[in-house]
């Protein structure tokens, strides 16, 4: 089990190691910061494809920090990392494909009687 905590001295029985929580709070402030940036864009930018792309990039950044640090995936073996990432990458492909399809269906329906 990979662990962040590295204790220099061996513990006596019953003794409890000091908390090592710096990395947790660092990740927390990164997540809060990214959410704050998202809100800045909501109010300062008009809705556009560019704004949506910014949101998606920021969301993926947040997802990275949650999965890599909080869920500890960054510190697991390469095999496990790929086992999780490859199916998710295929899901993103499906998402893009079906959204494109949705735009096309909408276009057909809206122009049907024109």
């Amino acid at each position: 089990m990979a662990s962040h905590a590295t204790t220099e001295h061996t513990l006596a029985p019953g003794e409890i190691a000091k908390p090592n929580t710096g990395w947790i709070w660092k990740t927390f402030f990164v997540l809060v910061g990214i959410t704050a940036i998202e809100f800045v864009f909501v109010f300062l930018m008009h809705p556009s494809t560019l704004r949506n792309s910014i949101f998606i990039v920021l969301t993926i950044m947040k997802a990275f920090f949650i999965v890599a640090e909080f869920m500890h995936l960054k510190h697991e073996t390469k095999g496990l990392i790929w086992t999780i990432l490859i199916p998710v990458a295929l899901l993103v492909w499906l998402l893009v494909a079906l959204i494109t399809e949705g735009s096309f269906i909408g276009e057909v329906l809206q122009n049907m009687f024109k």
């Binding site: 990740t27 997540l31 998606i56 969301t59 869920m71 079906l98 269906i105 909408g106």
Partner: protein, 257 residues
């Protein structure tokens, strides 16, 4: 074991009870992760498929609908086009009908992110076998998780009851709020997707809170202390972070975009 070895002939296998540790004997942990953690990862992957199906459906249906092209200030609710989220989700508890675009959902997001932090602190305390700290952080996580659930209940209630203005429907009557067949905000499917996506996420949070309460009781009873490790906290932690992760996506695709 010295006794038994003396009884055996030199050609017989040393002992039948010794654990077999070969690659194909189940002696290895694939990916150096324990069985429970690995299965939790695979469960979460399959759960991600479910949520991705929801979000894919949302994306496809949304792109199928017309987009409001005018100025954001002149936006009005209509079944013709998809609503702009900050015009729908702009209420805050205790502020009546004041316009606070996305204010409450921002607070809910913060609560959930914070619950993720207290969860990871509980896992960290578990690594150190610090029972008191595990209890403390589990309680905080339960508190924030429950607060999120209550916030979502309020959000749903407000969405269902709607605004006093309402929206004129095709038959000339004014409709307030939303149900599965009709809503004042936009196309029928907008409300349906809101109920299903946030409802499914809320159910996950609820299950998570139940698991955490059970985990807190087990910690207090010293179950994990006796077992020698707090891996259960870690596994429930994985689930809890996943729920937070799903919210990050729901937040972007339902409220921001």
């Amino acid at each position: 074991m010295a006794q038994s070895t003396t009884l055996q002939s030199p050609t017989a296998p040393a002992t039948q009870d010794a654990p077999r540790t070969g690659n194909w004997d189940g002696g290895n942990e694939p990916f150096k992760a324990s069985y429970g953690k690995l299965m939790m990862w695979f469960f979460l992957l399959s759960d991600a498929f479910t949520f991705a199906a929801f979000l894919t459906t949302y994306g496809m249906i949304r792109h199928k609908h017309e987009v409001f092209t005018g100025e954001a200030k002149e936006f009005v609710f209509s079944t013709r086009w998809w609503p702009i989220p900050d015009h729908v989700f702009n209420a805050f508890p205790g502020l009546g009908h004041a316009n606070v675009p996305l204010g409450f959902v921002a607070l809910m997001t913060m609560i959930l992110i914070f619950s993720s932090v207290t969860m990871v602190l509980a896992v960290e305390a578990g690594h150190r076998m610090d029972k008191a700290d595990v209890q403390k952080w589990l309680l905080w996580t339960i508190l924030f998780g429950s607060t999120f659930l209550l916030s979502q209940a309020w959000e749903w209630s407000h969405f269902i009851h709607g605004t006093p203005e309402g929206t004129m429907m095709a038959d000339g009557t004014v409709f307030h709020g939303a149900n599965l067949a009709m809503n004042q905000y936009g196309p029928v499917l907008f409300a349906d997707l809101f109920f299903f996506i946030t409802g499914f996420h809320g159910t996950h949070v609820f299950s998570g809170v139940c698991l955490l309460i059970w985990c807190f009781i087990a910690t207090t009873n010293g179950t994990f202390e006796k077992r020698g490790h707090y891996e259960m906290v870690e596994k429930i932690g994985l689930y809890w972070h996943f729920v937070d992760l799903v919210w990050v996506f729901v937040f972007t695709f339902f409220y921001l975009v």
